[in-house]
Amino acid sequence: MADVHLSHVTKRFGKVLAMDQISLEVQSGEVVALLGPSGCGKTTTMRTIAGLETPNAGDIYIAQQDMQGIPSHKRAVGMVFQDYALFPHLSVQENIAFGLKMRKVSRTMVHSKVRDVLKLVHLADLPGIEQRYPHQLSGGQRQRVALARSLVTEPKVLLLDEPFGALDKKLRESMQVEVRLLQQQLGITTIFVTHDQEEALTLADRIAVMRDGRIEQIGTPNQVYESPRSRFVADFIGVSNFFSGKVEAEHEGGFMLRTTRGMPIWLKPPLRQQLSVGDTLHLALRPEKVTMVPFGDTLMPYTQSATIKHIVYLGTVTHYYTRTVHGEEIMIYAQNQDMGHDCGPVAVGDIMSLCWKPENLLILEAD
């Protein structure tokens, strides 16, 4: 059952088309990330669901109910803002109780509910936290209070707008895990906006990659990473090597493609689309799917020889920037499984053989 359903929603700000016929279904209990660069319409999409913006066209349903003409305060939607938007003149207790007060919940109920939700967000152990004011809290505590405030009214849908943007890296990572666990415990339908692909991969059941007011691709983290539809998606989620070229020959169901710089690439079935000789193709290859062996130790056919141009050592992985004999730039991520390098000492200027499985080549739609 879809808890949130957008059907061909369009929103214009003057001449800018912030949402271009967006359709989206979010299932009950699901976490969906709206991912994209700034100005792609992700925040507008969220604000439209919250009723903070009125769409120019299209329908929005929350729990099968048409939201047209229903103001924000009657939508049963909880939202955590990027800067938390805590009420500066109210204490933590009053901030959290605000939604309950608006619903005329009795005083004793308010007290027990606030206590429960503080426990939920792991703030109950801090003595006197209820009496503190937002400016007396740390960034992480503020976020927990904002989360508690939006959860205490038991909304059907939780919206998070760049929720971890203001936190430093360590805290961000631990809060991401914590929020995900909390979401699973409550089973609340959640939509969050982010421009951070890692955050989307960490938290979301499905990721909607947005661009210019449209959803470019929606799918599980695995789907959008392993089979990106377009160059934009392949570039936005993760890092890719890109090639374009023409199909030159067919052999036993496989195809031989030559890139614009003249590098031959072997494509093997199963292929995502029908190919014929003469087609122009755009390909992507993830850097971790490329292996590197000393020149001459060939593992597979169709290896490329390349010169190491630059090496970045990052602890768990090493990034190699290489250039093939045909002049294609190929980046390689290698796990540092053994101390030192997998394939013996490698230095800038060495010539290596690069290989990859043909099925790891991603055929992209033309932009």
Partner: protein, 270 residues
Amino acid sequence: MRRGLRIAPWAPWGLLYGFCGLMLFFLAAPIVIILLVSFSDAEFVYFPPPGFTLRWYAHLVRMEGFVPSFLLSLRLALLVSGLALMLGTAASLALVRSTFPGRQWLNTFFMSPLIFPPIITGIALLQFFSTLGIRATFFTLMVGHTLITIPYVVRNVTASLQGLRSNVEEAARLLGANPWQTFWYITLPLIKPGLLAGGIFAFITSFDNYTISMWLKSAEETPLPLRIFFYIERIMDPSVAAVSGAMIVFSIVLVIVTEKAMGLSRAMNV
């Protein structure tokens, strides 16, 4: 090195403190003098006073018209600051929160009573009321004063509203507050500093206004500043100083009470 340009290290500080000292002196000296004169036992305003007495203060209460005038001015200033707060806040909300054609123009228009010489505003209002056949009463005074005090409220409240992040209001809406509840529980408490500052400016402006009241007052009731002026025209004895002294004390009490009750120093952004 030229010797003539050498400056002693204390000289800049000396200049700064000297300048500030003079500023304070010129601000405070008239007040001190008027207070001293109000206790003078001479029959005329004369400084330094030859001796001291409290009789001018006693005289004040007995003097015809001063107490009613004080009460009139107080009532007027209270009503006017209340009205100016309501109208000014509504205007500020419209100016800050909505975008409509002519918004900038309207903003300037609301400020115009500050720019126009008040005497002209006064004459214009008198003309306006007499054309409509409205007699000068407490009502006309109230309208006139409200008009000239609204800019102070608009100024201060607009500044407060601009400093307020509008997403706290959105957060309140999403927590189930309707627009009125949002205004009452969130917006209003957060713009309190601007309301207080605007309200106090409005009160003081109305309380010691002369130029507007001169045109719009009724024959029967005279606001305090006019009463003082009429008195000085006839007699220049220390009871005028006593009125001033009383007004100074009244202002100080007003500021202290507001400070204690609502935190004026925060309101004035001190």
